[in-house]
């Protein structure tokens, strides 16, 4: 697999195309529980499930430490769906998420060539919504009782950014 690294994040944060060397840290991050309250992943991940074959997954790195991950998947509605999680709570609010989302949009619109990137976020995750808004995402819908999470049906805010808006942003978003 070609080594893909996107640098320039705050404090040296960078994106790397995830590969076997990231698998154990990804598994531990998903299984730590630190991300469970704000993500749609529920079941423990195995190392083999993190083999990453066929996934467009990226590792969010600070120095040699994996602090989160993001990936594209088939969209719920149209374009590409983006999912991101910062595993370490102490890394949240320090710009890594904004950097990663911005770079993923750049990949989606300039490399993949999609016209739309969409994602779902819990309504009470104000910090994540702010990150997405900074990257050009707009609130499009409140999907009612969309996700079953920790024993209850929860609504989901659906957000998206369009290529034409992203390209037209003052100074670009890159």
């Amino acid at each position: 697999m070609p080594k893909i690294v996107l640098t320039g994040g705050p404090g040296g944060v960078r994106l790397e195309r995830a590969g076997p060397k990231h698998a154990a840290a990804l598994r531990d991050g998903f299984n730590s529980g630190a991300a469970a309250a704000s993500t749609r992943w529920h079941l423990p991940h195995s190392l083999s499930a993190m083999s990453l074959r066929g996934q467009q997954r990226y590792a969010i790195m600070r120095s040699e430490r994996l602090i989160g991950t993001c990936r594209f998947s088939e969209p719920q509605y149209a374009g590409l769906e983006l999912a991101i999680v910062i595993f370490d709570p102490e890394e949240r609010g320090r710009g890594a998420g904004t950097f990663a989302v911005s770079k993923m949009c750049e990949i989606a619109f300039t490399t993949v060539g999609t016209h739309r990137v969409e994602l779902g976020v819990y309504p009470d995750n104000a910090a994540a919504i702010r990150v997405y808004e900074k990257c050009g995402f707009r609130h499009e819908a409140l999907l009612r009782r969309y996700v079953h999470h920790e024993g209850e049906w929860r609504d989901l805010v659906w957000m998206a950014v369009l290529k034409r808006d992203w390209l037209a942003a003052p100074g670009g978003r890159r």
């Binding site: 509605y77 149209a78 374009g79 016209h115 739309r116 969409e118 707009r138 609130h139 499009e140 819908a141 409140l142 999907l143 009612r144 009782r145 969309y146 079953h148 049906w153 659906w158 998206a160 369009l162």
Partner: protein, 145 residues
């Protein structure tokens, strides 16, 4: 042979889509997921007037409509076919949400509203119409599963 009673409404009834219905399906200008179930919407006297695609994924279902004659969206046929699905599906499967993507500004939005769908927002450029992406209202109806 008549369809099960739960597939019969006040103005329309639904029957399963057969291979020979594919040309009719195309006339109704509806593209659906290959995993979806297809139905032909008939008047109660057995005239084929439209098609309905239904995709069930666990507790969620998505529905899409197409008609040969767009006036079916305003004469009550579309709303009736949607009511047939909304009344019957939760009695058959543990579905707790049925949603639809509906072109904004179309008569279909009102037909869904009449059938009990709530408009949750507008997804920009989410529906491919030929070679052009159009905005779509996402509409849903909820059930206790």
């Amino acid at each position: 042979m008549l369809p099960p009673t739960w597939l019969v409404g006040k103005k329309t009834r639904l029957r399963a889509l057969e291979v020979e219905d594919v040309p009719f399906f195309k006339r109704c200008r509806l593209a659906i997921d290959p995993q979806a179930r297809g139905f032909v919407i008939q008047t109660l006297d057995g005239t084929d007037i439209g098609v309905l695609g239904l995709l069930v994924s666990g507790p969620h279902a998505a529905v899409a409509l197409g008609f040969v004659d767009e006036r079916r969206y305003v004469d009550g046929s579309a709303a009736d076919a949607l009511r047939v699905i909304c009344n019957g599906l939760p009695r058959t499967l543990p579905v707790q949400r049925i949603e639809a993507l509906v072109p904004t500004g179309s008569h279909s939005v009102e037909a869904h509203r009449k059938a009990g769908f709530h408009r949750e927002g507008v997804l920009r450029e989410a529906l491919l119409d030929g070679k052009v992406y159009r905005d779509a209202a996402v509409m849903s109806v909820l059930f206790d599963a």
